[in-house]
Structure formats: structure tokens, C-alpha cells
Amino acid sequence: MDVEPLLLSLEAALIATALAGLVGIAAGAALASRRMPARHLLDAIFAAPMVMPPTVLGYYVLVTVGRKSALGGAYRDLVGSDLTFTFHGVVLAAAIGAFPMVAKAARTAFAGVDPTLLAAARTLGAGRVRAFLTVALPLAAPGLIGGLMLGFARGLGDFGVTLMIAGDIPGETQSAPLAIYDHVQAGREHAAATSSLVLTGGAIAILYVVNRLTDRAGGDR
């Protein structure tokens, strides 16, 4: 079995999940607040990557952070590497896939926290940040972990956006799904089957853990 694309996918998905976790949990917390202006519109925009064709999404990303774009140039100046057609692009594609999963799960998890508990924390001397960190975050944790795991799985399995913005460069940007595509195109049935089985097993294991967490959060033991 060709392990390198799997390891590259794992590494990219882990970094992407960390990035999407930071941004997605913050976005989910903001969207769960009724005070957030235009939250339904923002929710729709954040969730759009879940339903948009990967080619369209990839096109937008290329236009926004491609080599010729201002953002892409700024990134190259800052980091010393292009964002597109590098490993960074694989991470970005995985993060774009993971973000809506994390943000949606975070919104649901935070919306499920009883606001009276947060009010109680405030009356007991906690500022907004302490109330969030000590009450909202622990109570939302099962949902957040579930969202992060789904985001990781989504990032691990990304194909279309990765191909559009990172290409299919073996050893550099070739993730496991792209390697499987190449194996099939080249008639390497055994390699395609083995990698597919590993990804399928991983996906089922992740979904199983998410289901257990969801059940626990809902009190269904």
C-alpha cells in the first residue's frame, strides 16, 4: 500500500482541523447568540461550502489566494511559500471542507446551553469570558468534539477543492483520495482498494465515535 498519500492526508487534515476548529468554534459561538446581527445570512454563507460544487469553491479560492492575487502575494511574502499548488494548499482545501462542519456543530452545541446557566455564572462574579470558558465551553464540549471529528473526516476525504487549488503532485500535494483516483486511472486495482478500505474504515470509526458523543450529550446512555 502507498502510505505516503495517507500520511500527507492525515497531516493536512490534522492541521486543517485545528485551524477550522479555532475559526469554526468562534463562528459557531457567535452564530448561537441571538444578538449576532445577520446571523442567518452568515450561517448560510458559512455552510455554503457543504453544498457548493468543489470546482466552484476551488475557483473562488484560486481567485482569492492564487499566485497572482494580492492575498496570495501577501501570503508568499509572509510565509515564503505559495498557498496554491503546495502542501499549504492541501491544508487550506481540507480546512475549507472542515470549517462548515465545525461551525454548524458548534452553533448547535452552544445554542443548546441553557442561557440561565450563563446568567447565573455572571451573577456569581464571572465576566463574559470566564462564563464562556467555564460554563458554555464544557457543556458544549461533546458537540464540539463531534464537529471537530466530522470536520477531520471531511478534510481527510476532500478531493475536488484539493485538486483545484493544490493539484495532484506526488509526494507534495497528492492526498489519499487523489492517489486513489490515480490508482484507478492507472489500473492499480489492489492499491486503490487498499487505500479505499483504509479511508472507509477511518470514516466509519469517526462516525461511530461521533454518534457515541452525540448520544452522551443528549443523555442517551
Binding site: 446557566l117 446568567a119 455572571r122 451573577t123 456569581l124 462574579g125 464544557p138
Partner: protein
Amino acid sequence: MSLAVDVTVERGGFTFAMTTTFAPGITCVLGPSGAGKSTLLGVIAGLVEPTRGRVALGAEVWVDTTARARVPVERRHVAYLFQALALFPHLSASSNVAYAVPRAVPRRERTARAMALLARVGVSHLAHRRPATYSGGEAQRVALARALAMAPRVILLDEPFSALDRELKRPLIGLVRDLVAEAGVPAIAVTHSLGEARALADRVIRVDAGHIVADGTPADLLATAGHDDDLTP
């Protein structure tokens, strides 16, 4: 120190307006659902913004809409016993109570204070258990201990005994009276029940449709009680 309240809250066609002063001791605010009782508690705690008016504890102004002054909720040191109790479900009783002890206090001392308060309200055995395992009366006692753990300057009790049966109410009413007397601060308890008000309060204010309609001792209010009053303690 007395708590002076002179506020108006306007929300969706409902107007709550109250001007009064709460002295140390227990004042019961009595009235039907929707009369504005919980709005009053929210304004005092800082959870509800008055449309206009002023709230001050002694010389310390908590809210003054004219001067645009506002002390945030967490700096008022108001012990608020919520109707739903709002115990943190992920924390044990000792951690729930210790949460209210100022963080400047070392952790060990916070825990010691929490344990002492749990003992004071008679639920030491719950120290390491989470709220899901408490009975109604036990939860009420833990919530009371937590509310008092911060050395409160005002105590707010929202329907404190509504979920309890008669046998559990009686000792808790005595406990609340003792704890408020020890704290020596204004305590405001809202209730539907004239019986509870009579057993608990030094003063009773009756509100209806957002306004005070009567103000006096429990005996005064009992004399003017309508037929629809719940007289069970």
C-alpha cells in the same frame, strides 16, 4: 445599606415601573405571572437593562440611564437564586459553590468555604456529587449555598420554593430567613404565594401589570387578600 430602585422597563407593549427602597431584611414581591416580578430581579442583578431610571445600593450607583452609568453584572455581588436554580450540571456541589467564591481566594480556601456552606445548609453529603443526582430540596439547598458564597450585597430569590412540597418548604423558609439575617443585606423574594410571603417576609409588595398596587407588612396584605390568593405556605 438600602437598595433604591426607580426604574421603567418598556418591552413589547408591556411597561414595568417601580419606585421603592429595599431595606435589609426580606421583601416579598407578590403578584400573578407577567406582573413584572422577574423583570425587577433582572434589573437589580444587571441582567435586564431598564429603559430609564436608576438603581443604587447606598451611595453606589449600579444603573443610571441619565448618566449612562452601569456596573456590570459580575461586579454587583448580587446573590441570585434562580427559579430553575441554574446549578452547573458539569460541576459537583462543592465546585458549584466554590465557583462563587472570589478567584483571588486560594483554591484550597475556596473549597473549604464551599464545604462550610454546604454543611451550613445541611447537604455536606452532596459535596462530590453532580446536580443530576440531587432531590428537589437538596438542589435548592446547594443553590442557596452557592448564592451566598460570594458574600452578597443583595439577595434575589425567584420563586424560591415553588418546586417544593409543603414538608420541604417549611425548613427551607426558616433556613432562608436565618441566612438573610446573618448576611444583613436587602433580600427580595418574588412569589405567587401569599402564604410563602407571610412566612418569609418582613415586608410585602404586591405588583400587578407592572406596577405596585399594595405595599405593607404581611399582616396588612393578608387582610386585603383577594379570593384568588394562594394561601398555602
